[in-house]
Amino acid sequence: MAIRSPAFEVAGLHRPTGRMARVREWWEQEHVFGYGLIAPAFVLITCLVAYPFAMAIYFSLSDYWVGSPGGFVGLANFREIFGNEVFRQTVQNSFVFTVVALTCKAVLGVWLAVLLARNLKGKRILRGAVLLPWVIPTALSTLGWQWMFDSLYSVVNWTAVNAGLISAPGPNWLGMSGYAMAAVITVNVWRGLPFFAITVLAGLVSIPREYYEAAEVDGASSFDRFWHVTLPLLKPVLAVVLLFSTIFTFNDFNIVYVLTRGGPVNSTHLFATLAYQTGLAGGNLGQGAAISLFMLPLLGLVVFFQLRYIRRE
C-alpha cells in the first residue's frame, strides 16, 4: 500500500479536480487515513523490535560469535548454559534479587503512599523530594552509592561504627557476596520506591472519602480502615504496579553493572549482566542471546496478566 505524504495531499486541496481529487478522496477514507498514521510506528516496531527479537531467537540457536556468523546448532547453547555453574548461580541471584527487592518496594511503597496522601503542608515538595531518585540517571546515582559502599571510606560503615552499631572496620559491602547482594537490592529499592509510592498514591486519592467516614462512624480503628477499606480498594492499582515493577526489577542492568559488575565471584549477576558479559564482552552472541531469552517466560506471564487487566477495564 502506498502511503501518500500529507504535504502532497494539502497541495491537492486547492485543485479539487481530476487525479488530485481522487487521491484526496482515497486518503480521506477512515481506514486509509488510519493505516497511514500508524504506518511509521508499524515500520519502526517491525524493523527495530520484532526483527531483532526474531534475531535473538536465531542467535540463541546458532553458533554465532561477534564477527563470525556461525551455523545452526539447535539447543546446544541452552544445554551448555544449563550445565554452567555461573548460570545456575545467576538464576538463583535473579530470583532472590527480584523477590526481596519487590517485597521491600511494595511494603515501603504502600506505607509511603499512605503517609504522602495526608493533607500535610509542603505536600508538593515532599512528593518532589521522594520522587527524585527515580528521575536522576540511575547509572550516575549508582556511582554515588558505589562510593558510599567503598571498602575503605564507606560513609555507611563510618556512620554505623560511630553510632556504635557495628565494630570497625565494618563489612566490605561490594567485596563479599551476601553483602554485595544486600547493597544491590538496597540501591534497587531506593530507586524503585518512588515509582511504587507515587503510583499507589494516585490510586489512594481516588478512593472516595465517604468510605472512610462510614468506617469511622462504625468505630473502625485507623488500622482497620487501612486493612478493610484502603487495601482492598487498592488491589487493582497494586496489581498493575507489581507487574510493571516485576519486569523492571527482573531485568535490571544498570545497578548491578555499575556497582559490582556481577561480582564478587558472580554472586550478584542477573540475566541481563550475564548476557552482556557473555555476548558482548565475551563475544559469544549465541549464548548471550540464549541467556537473555530466559527473561522471556516471566515477561510473557506479566504481559498476559496486564492484557487481561486492560481488557477488563
Binding site: I38, P40, A56, L143, I198, T199
Partner: protein, 286 residues
C-alpha cells in the same frame, strides 16, 4: 468530615506523626545526592583521610574537581552528544507517536485492536532483551559508534510509551469538535493538527519530558553501541572511562555525575506535576 469528630490536640498529634514518619523516607531518598554533592567539593586530602568526618565538608569547599572535568576531559563534548541524541530521538518519537496514538484513539479499521496490543507489548519489552541483536543491526546499518546508533534505536522504547500515553489523552478529548471540522470540509490531517493536537498539549508536554529524561538517562544501549570515547553519551562517559588514571578520582567522578544530572533535574524541578501525572498515567491507565 473526619476532623470534626476528633479534638484539635489529636489532630496536631497525628500531623506530627505524619511528618515524623516521612523523615526516614526523605532522608533515604535525598542523602545519596547530598553525599555526591559534598564529595564533589571536597579536597582529595579530606576525601581520603580516615580521620575526617565524611558527613560534611570540614576543610573548605573547592572546585578543583569541576575544573579538572572541563580542562582535562571531553566532558563538554559528551554533554553535547547527549543533548543532540536526546532532543532528536524525542522529536522523532513524538511525531511518530502523535500519528499512531491519534489513529489508535479515533479510527476503526481492521487490525487496529491488534496493533494497539502490539504497541502495549512493545512498551513492556525491556531493552535488556534486545540489546544483543540490536547491536548487530546497528553494525549492519553502518552506524555503530556514531550518535545515529542511539537516535535510531531510542524510538524503539519511546514510541510505544508515548503512543500509549497520547492515545489516552486523545480519548479524553470529545470527538464532536473534530467531526464538525470534518463536516465543514477540513481534511483529516488538518483536523488532527489544528483541533486535536492543541487540546492534547498536556499529553505532549508529558511525552517530551519523559522522552528527554528516558533518553538522557538510558544506559545499556549507550554502553553497547558506542566504543570511541568522544562519541559517548554523558552518562556512559562519566560511568565508564572519562575520569580514570590514578586511584584518587571520586571527587571528579561525583562532579561529573552531578553535572550530567543537571539537565534532567532542571526539567524535573520546573515540571514536577507533569512527571507525577505521566508516571501514574503510564502505569495505572495503561
Amino acid at each position: 468530615m473526619i476532623t470534626g469528630v476528633r479534638s484539635r490536640g489529636a489532630r496536631a498529634r497525628s500531623t506530627m506523626f505524619g511528618y515524623a514518619n516521612l523523615v526516614p523516607f526523605v532522608f533515604f531518598a535525598l542523602f545519596p545526592f547530598y553525599f555526591m554533592l559534598i564529595t564533589s567539593f571536597k579536597s582529595n586530602a579530606e576525601l581520603y583521610s580516615l580521620k575526617s568526618v565524611p558527613l560534611w565538608i570540614q576543610n573548605g569547599a573547592i572546585v578543583d574537581h569541576y575544573r579538572y572535568l572541563f580542562a582535562r576531559t571531553e566532558f563538554l563534548t559528551l554533554i553535547r552528544n547527549s543533548l543532540v541524541i536526546s532532543v532528536t530521538a524525542t522529536g522523532v518519537s513524538l511525531v511518530i507517536a502523535v500519528l499512531a496514538g491519534y489513529s489508535l484513539a479515533r479510527f476503526r479499521f481492521r487490525g487496529v485492536g491488534s496493533f494497539g496490543t502490539a504497541v502495549f507489548i512493545t512498551y513492556l519489552v525491556p531493552p535488556t532483551l534486545l540489546f544483543l541483536p540490536l547491536s548487530q543491526v546497528v553494525n549492519w546499518l553502518g552506524i555503530s559508534d556514531t550518535i545515529w546508533a542511539l537516535i535510531v534505536t531510542y524510538p524503539t522504547f519511546l514510541v510505544p510509551f508515548s503512543a500509549w500515553l497520547l492515545m489516552g489523552y486523545f480519548r479524553t478529548i470529545p470527538r464532536e469538535i473534530e467531526e464538525c471540522a470534518l463536516v465543514d470540509g477540513a481534511s483529516r490531517m488538518r483536523t488532527l493538527l489544528r483541533i486535536a493536537l492543541p487540546m492534547a498539549i498536556p499529553g505532549i508536554v508529558c511525552v517530551v519530558l519523559f522522552g528527554f529524561t528516558l533518553t538522557w538517562n538510558e544506559f545499556i544501549y549507550a554502553l553497547t553501541f558506542r566504543s570511541q570515547s568522544s562519541n559517548k553519551t554523558a552518562i556512559v562517559g562519566v560511568t565508564a572511562d572519562l575520569i580514570r588514571g590514578d586511584i584518587y578520582y571520586w571527587g571528579s567522578l561525583m562532579a561529573g555525575a552531578v553535572l550530567a544530572s543537571v539537565p534532567v533535574v532542571a526539567c524535573y524541578v520546573f515540571f514536577l506535576d507533569y512527571y507525577v501525572s505521566g508516571l501514574t498515567a503510564g502505569a495505572v491507565k495503561g
